[in-house]
Amino acid sequence: MAISSLSPTHRYAAAALLSLALHQTQIHQTRPLGVSLITETESYNEIGERSSSSSSSSSDSVSEDPELWIHEGSGLLRPIFRFLEIDPVAWLGLEETGGSSSAKHHIGAFLRLLSEEIEVPSSDRMDYELALSKAVDGMAMSMETTTSVSSEASTERHREYKQDLKEKILTGESQSTSAEVLSETYPLTMSEDLPVKKEELDVPGNKFYEEPVEEITLLSYQRKVAVLYELLSACLANTPEDGKKGSRLRKGYDARHRAALRLLATWLDFKWIKMEAMEVIVACSAMALMKEENPKEEETKISESKWSKWKRGGIIGAAALTGGTLLAITGGLAAPAIAAGFGALAPTLGTIIPVVGASGFAAVASAAGSVAGSVAVAASFGAAGAGLTGTKVARRTGNVDEFEFKAIGENHNQGRLAVGILVSGLVFEKEDFVRPWEGREDNLERYALQWESKNLISVSTAIQDWLTSRLAMELMRQGAMVTVLSTLLAALAWPATLLAATDFIDSKWTIAIDRSDKAGILLAEVLSKGLQGNRPVTLVGFSLGARVIFKCLQHLSQSKDNAAGLVERVVLLGAPISIKDESWETARKMVAGRFVNVYSTSDWTLGVAFRASLLTKGLAGIQPVDISGIENANPSYSHFSYLVILMDSLPLQVDVTELIEGHSSYLWTTQQILEQLDLDTYYPVFKISPARPQQERSPDT
């Protein structure tokens, strides 16, 4: 018999847990944890029931609601069942279980099932589990060390950048510090109840989900690794459909799977970095396998049992441990493959898959998942390097003259299975597209988007000029800006003087807005085409860059093909996006995991630029996105408000006024904000460590 590290029963339980996680993740899109006021665990039942019925909108059975991720039609779950070789008769029960209301209780039960040893464990299986967990540990360790080493140097560079920028820009905006002080003593109507909300934001999540389910203690670490590894492989594998094709539209790693795995890892109390290590292991072994197989295209090889292949994958992982570093793998196997023009290979992959599929795979039917999967994975990151960085504006779409990805960081071609695309939106020099993002090390393969530099620089400079103009100076001296902004928030009109003053920004601003909308469409097209290598994407952008991202999401939501699985996380900072005129709900649906809107109520620069008339419709960059008409469990806190991370509750700590002094401070504070958001956590968090700002500050001052 083929060796899997898991018995059929365990695989069944693993599949059930994934369906539960997948469904909960979808529920959290609209009803995030920690937002509804859950005082007791018991009341979750009720909420769970309601939310499941709300997201299933019209029925109490999964099979009747095709909008659900766990529904057959979304093609997210069944390929995984097939990969895990779960008997098709059990599929429906699994799907319905995933969609049932009392998720928490099911999680416990399935975890217990996972921990039980039904059959006598074979020594092979034990060895496998042990080897796998060792490999994962080793990989995680090497990833952590490389990260910390390289980050020191880049932190330094980032600091320099910050210094540079401040000297350059703050001439105008620093004048506002007096106004800032004012804002402290003079709390805006908005900010008054904010600190309270923030606590809610942090606490219930912890209270309820972050403490692992009690059954978790029953589960051995090795078992956890084995389960997650198998599920991850299943998510990555491109399992051939029996007979019919294309029920799963998109190949590669679906963002919704990643989000669900993230939740599952949280349930299992499993560090995310180790999940990332597994991703790298899978990717690299897939590359290795592919390199071994494809040139020869030997069908005999393919018939080899899939588990022995994965086992080899595990061994390759173990090599990381003994060999010392991750580079041992990527240097030896993946990198040459890429260097040899994997990007060029990418188009031909389309032909390879059918070739392999037709000959070898049909015979082994469902068992062939791993190899097909390896092709998908390899295709994933093979295509990416060439895909994204090669995407200059070859085609000019709607006046966008410049649209280009720049690789940042050191994670390229390292088998990373998640991509970060970072978009600046306030730019004084070309380097401002890239430098704000340097220095923060995470395990994403990161790209900065350079777009429309001419227009962006011109509008940014115009704003800057205006800020330093006499009128603005005068207003700032009087501390008027903050009051102006607060009256605007109260939907009053701009003072006439201000209106006139901003006229000359207007034309440039209008062009920039128009370009950002178009760049958003371009970005959406890039993503739909899979140029990021069919890997889940995290989008982060500030100012007009945030608008690019938002427009991209909107465009994705309108596209016909299954675009919901492309984007995993989104962070918008200081976004010039109207709250009432835009459909935030549809944009939200395009994001599998967290969707964060960072705003600052003292960001009056943005207010000025965005113009008075629009302000009455709300502005995401200075206000929480608070969609009315959507009622929520918590009256003070509606659907989208969890997105809102409250920058301006910070003035309570003296130093943090420094965090966002004006709109342009996003250039250098973005990283710190991102750090505090801790994107790798499944739950909405915003870490505020009072010590941090001081530490951060001391070197500069």
Partner: protein, 222 residues
């Protein structure tokens, strides 16, 4: 193979009208492995005589049946649990929120009957969160009369002891199969609290629909 047929029919058994019912009830089938829980359900759902032996259920199975009882249109969501020991830990989480529980035994195997009081009744007591939940004792396989190891009287006595309804039926001949579910449903309809639960779901959905104004986007999961 027949399984696949029933599988394919799933969800469409009620001519698709998901909102076309007055109440929705959750029914749970429990009992030892091999007593014929899945056969009973299959017989009820497919409305045909079934002679093949089904493979043991893996984990849980799920079926929907629309049904008109006592002038009300009902939607029964029926969870068929695995009787096998190895899935025992699992079943516990499915008791939650059930309005009706059917305890099945095999009239030809006495131990399946004794296990009801030794094991299953205790499970129900332990895990069933619903005090008013209607329970029903069902002796399956009465078509094999000559092998009978549990008498009807014994069944009635046990049912009385636990305050259950009682029926003997045969999944193979379909004798009493429909009565089984109908009687249970009728009984559930008599309990106001359960009735409330059965309609609560629906009310919630309506309310949710009003609240949830986001236009259904086809792009999400099509």
């Amino acid at each position: 193979m027949n399984r696949d047929i029933s599988f394919g029919k799933m969800g469409s058994s009620g001519n698709g009208g998901s909102s076309n019912y007055d109440y929705s009830f959750k029914i749970l089938l429990i009992g030892d492995s091999g007593v014929g829980k899945s056969s009973l359900l299959f017989s009820f759902i497919s409305q045909s005589v079934e002679n093949e032996v089904l493979a043991p259920t893996i984990g849980v199975d799920f079926k929907i049946k629309h049904l008109a009882v006592g002038g009300k249109k009902l939607k029964l969501t029926i969870w068929d649990t695995a009787g096998q020991e190895r899935f025992r830990t699992l079943t516990s989480s499915y008791y939650r929120g059930a309005q009706g529980i059917i305890l099945v035994y095999d009239v030809t195997r006495r131990e399946t009957f004794t296990n009801l009081s030794d094991v299953w009744a205790k499970e129900v007591e332990l895990y069933c969160t619903n005090q008013d939940c209607v329970k029903m004792l069902v002796g399956n396989k009465v078509d094999r009369d000559d092998e009978k190891a549990v008498t009807r009287e014994e069944g009635i006595t046990l049912a009385k002891e636990y305050g259950c309804l009682f029926l003997e039926c045969s999944a193979r001949t379909r004798e009493n199969v429909e009565q089984c579910f109908e009687e249970l449903a009728l009984k559930v309809l008599e309990v106001p609290r359960l009735l409330e639960e059965g309609s609560l779901m629906k009310k919630n959905i309506l309310r949710q629909k009003q609240e949830y104004q986001a236009p259904p986007t086809g792009g999400c999961c099509s």
